[in-house]
């Protein structure tokens, strides 16, 4: 497959997944902000969103103050923000457009229609009581596009690069969201939270659709340690780091071509650690340190994926 094709398909899927994750994160933060229980300053919650996305600087360029309205506007409709929902949906569509011949017509049509609908929503404006419905819509479009990829695409490299983009983005997002939430919720792991913390942890779980899973797996009260375990190490939890890296690991072995050995090595090492790691060791090392290291290693793998598949040197 052409390197540029693989690049487009990968970013098509990544952009869609990013839109979904941003919607999830904003939705949960928005709901939390409606609760009186919150022990946190509102600005703190909204600035957490910016640190998860690493966009504090970009935000400060155009907005004087961190508050619900500004962060929402920035993360949903700001076309200058490279990670806003509108930018992500546009990127997904443009990447799909560049590779119309490589994806099924259903795949193209869902991304094209999503973008057309997004433009309509932009022009009409989202009413304050419609914001949750909007986030649901974004999630549904993402589910739909993933489902269509799964249900209609030939199991070849095109499909694999699409899946690779999805799981890369998801792993990155889970690591970041956990890191930031942990950080502000629990400066010290020994602190015991009250009811407010219960809602906060619940919200974090909900943002990655893990609330019900938590109940099923642990059948017990929510503790930060278990939340970390669920989102990092549980292979059966579809948005956990382990589950995402499982997929990535399998995909890089299936992608055709002999040039992927370094990618395979890097991802294989990360995979082994997640597979055989224990939460006690993660906590001992320091969760923040651990997650920072995971994010930077994901970045290194991403870089290697770039150099191997998307922008190879000409020899």
């Amino acid at each position: 497959m052409l390197s540029s094709t693989a690049d487009h398909l990968y970013w098509m899927a990544r952009s869609m997944e990013r839109a979904e994750n941003t919607a999830r994160m904003l939705d949960v933060t928005y709901r939390m902000s409606l609760l009186k229980h919150s022990t946190l300053e509102p600005a703190q919650e909204w600035s957490a969103i910016l640190s998860i996305s690493g966009l504090q600087y970009e935000f400060a360029q155009s907005y004087p103050e961190i508050n619900a309205e500004n962060v929402m506007r920035f993360m949903v409709m700001d076309e200058d923000n490279p990670a806003s929902i509108i930018t992500s949906l546009h990127n997904a569509r443009e990447n799909a457009r560049a590779e119309r011949g490589m994806i099924t017509s259903e795949m193209w049509e869902v991304l094209n229609a999503t973008w057309i609908e997004m433009k309509t929503k932009r022009d009409a404006g989202i009413p304050p009581d419609g914001i949750s419905a909007f986030f649901d819509w974004v999630k549904e479009r993402s589910h739909l596009s993933r489902g269509i990829a799964h249900g209609t695409m030939l199991r070849g490299d095109a499909f694999r690069f699409i899946r690779l983009g999805t799981f890369f983005e998801r792993a990155d997002n889970t690591a970041r969201i956990l890191d930031v939430k942990y950080h502000i919720l629990l400066p010290s792991l020994d602190e015991v939270g009250g009811a407010a913390d219960y809602y906060q942890w619940g919200a974090l779980l909900r943002s990655v659709s893990a609330f019900e899973a938590y109940r099923k797996v642990y059948r017990d009260v929510i503790t930060p340690r278990r939340v970390a375990e669920l989102l990092i190490l549980r292979a059966d939890m579809p948005r956990s780091l382990h589950a995402c890296i499982n997929e990535v690991n399998r995909l890089v072995q299936e992608i055709n071509g002999s040039r992927s050995s370094e990618v395979q090595r890097l991802i294989g090492m990360l995979h082994a650690e997640l597979r055989f790691g224990r939460i006690e060791d993660v906590i001992t090392q320091g969760l923040h340190e651990y997650l920072t290291s995971v994010v930077s290693r994901l970045y290194a793998v991403g870089d290697q994926v770039n150099r191997t598949y998307f922008w190879p040197s000409d020899d």
């Binding site: 052409l2 390197s3 011949g101 193209w108 094209n112 229609a113 055709n256």
Partner: protein, 471 residues
């Protein structure tokens, strides 16, 4: 004023025989069904995204080319003549291109003034002495044919560089078969769906010598080009890669594409990029669309470009007047399809005549295309004529003039119902080492504005399915 030739109805109002089944169907089908079908066609084209980008509008704007459901029907005996005429014409044009870049016999024989060729900016000196596989230069030609007067056909223009529109020919047919399958049962309509196969065969036939299983790619300027849809469509239909300049690189005079499994050799490039932008080392140095070193690889015979570099010298509007002479010189035959009588404004007599008759004539820029930079005298305002006159006087050699042909009309759905609109026809003619081939058909373009003679999609033209009857 006398009405132009109508494809469906004779002057006395009777139906022409080959339109009989269709017009019976049209008259007996309830209006609301037709309205619904037309809506369905629109929706489908939109959803599927068969669009083209329009230059000069907001960046990346996409627009649908209007599709009309009334087909343009050509009876078998007329197509037979057209096909023979196209074959003859394209053969002569290929022979001419080979000749002017080699021995220049036709110039030596004085059949075409040497200056017209050698001083033309479209004559590519870089191509002199370069040998191309099978001596084929225009692998894909889109020849614009119009019908006028009592129904006689004329060649209006030869498009030998990167003619577009074939995807609409194929999509229009698909749409008609989907909307009105019953019509195809009534008449034997020649199929066109195998065009991509013919094209791929044709491209593979001109691969560099010694390559048994050539790799073909389609080279596009990118997704913001007006014909990007077509580039992607053709690549997909042929099952080959669609590449842009960044996907290719040249090493040691050979062309490779960057793939996820490493570099892969490319043998034939169906390029939809103009000569000037192909290779910044050989042509426009600031081109970012092309591939550095591509022309060198081409000259060495390591890769085939389709169409060849330098075909512009044969389809230039100032060269058009010489095509009948090319046919006589290279084929030893009289042209089967006539040229439109054309005046060259570089000739003082012609210039004087044209300036005196501007309001009756069509004046075209020699190097213009897409319906831009032309004057249609009868429909132009006094002010437009005045401005154009100034442009002509400033540089007469840049223009040619033709009588305003009363292009034939075909019934077409417009807001007020079905009304006659002017049409033309662009068949696509393929040349390879196996000879000249074409599918029976082409793209019929229709000027949707009442009275308009400009059918270009960039100027608000639409398209129709073209039916060649098999008997």
């Amino acid at each position: 004023m006398k009405l132009p030739y109508d494809e469906m109805s004779a002057a006395d109002g009777s139906r022409r025989a080959h339109y009989e089944p269709f017009s019976r169907w049209l008259e007996s089908t309830p209006e609301e069904i037709i309205a619904r079908k037309r809506e369905e066609a629109d929706l489908t084209f939109h959803r599927v995204g068969i669009t083209f980008a329009v230059y000069g509008e907001d960046a990346g704007a996409e627009r649908l080319i209007p599709f009309d459901i009334v087909p343009r029907i050509i009876p078998a005996h007329e197509w037979k003549v057209l096909e023979a005429g196209l074959r003859q014409r394209v053969k002569a044009l290929n022979a001419f291109l080979h000749d002017v870049y080699h021995d220049q016999e036709i110039l030596k024989a004085g059949r075409i003034p040497a200056d017209h060729v050698l001083k033309n900016e479209l004559f590519r000196r870089e191509m002199i002495g370069v040998n191309v596989p099978g001596n084929i230069y225009c692998h894909i030609a889109g020849v614009d044919i119009v019908r006028a007067g009592e129904g006689e056909y004329y060649v209006l223009e030869d498009n030998l560089r990167t003619p577009s529109g074939v995807s609409y020919m194929l999509e229009d047919r698909k749409m008609m078969m989907r909307l009105f399958p019953e019509l195809f049962a009534q008449q034997a309509i020649a199929p066109v769906e195998h065009y991509p196969d013919l094209l791929l065969d044709n491209l593979r036939s001109v691969a560099p010598a010694g390559i048994s299983d050539p790799t073909v790619v389609v080279l596009t300027p990118g997704q913001f080009n007006s014909a990007y849809f077509e580039h992607a469509f053709l690549a997909q239909q042929m099952g080959v890669e669609l590449v842009d300049g960044n996907d290719l690189f040249v090493r040691e005079g050979r062309v490779f594409m960057r793939t996820t499994a490493g570099p892969r050799r490319v043998d034939v490039i169906y390029r939809r990029i103009d000569d000037d932008y192909l290779d910044p080392l050989a042509f426009k140095p600031d081109s970012v669309l092309g591939v550095p070193g591509l022309f060198d690889a081409y000259r060495r015979g390591h890769v085939t470009l389709a169409n060849a570099v330098g075909t512009g010298i044969a389809d230039d509007k100032s060269m058009y007047i010489h095509v009948p002479e090319m046919i006589r010189f290279y084929c030893g035959e009289e042209p089967i399809i006539a040229n439109v009588p054309t005046r060259e404004l570089r000739k003082p007599d012609d210039l004087k005549y044209v300036l005196d008759h501007l309001s009756e004539l069509v004046v075209k820029e020699v190097h213009g295309s897409g319906g831009y930079g032309m004057l249609v005298g009868p429909t132009a305002s006094k002010e437009e004529i005045r401005l154009f006159r100034e442009k002509i006087i400033a540089a007469p050699e840049k223009y040619i003039a033709q009588p305003t042909l009363a292009l034939s009309t075909c019934p077409t759905f417009v807001e007020s119902g079905v009304a006659p609109r002017h049409i033309d026809l662009r068949p696509f003619v393929l040349s390879g080492t196996g000879g000249v081939t074409m599918v029976p058909g082409g793209l019929t373009r229709v000027a949707l504005k009442e009275g308009s003679l400009v059918v270009n999609s960039s100027q608000g033209g639409g398209t129709k399915d073209t039916w060649i009857l098999e008997k």
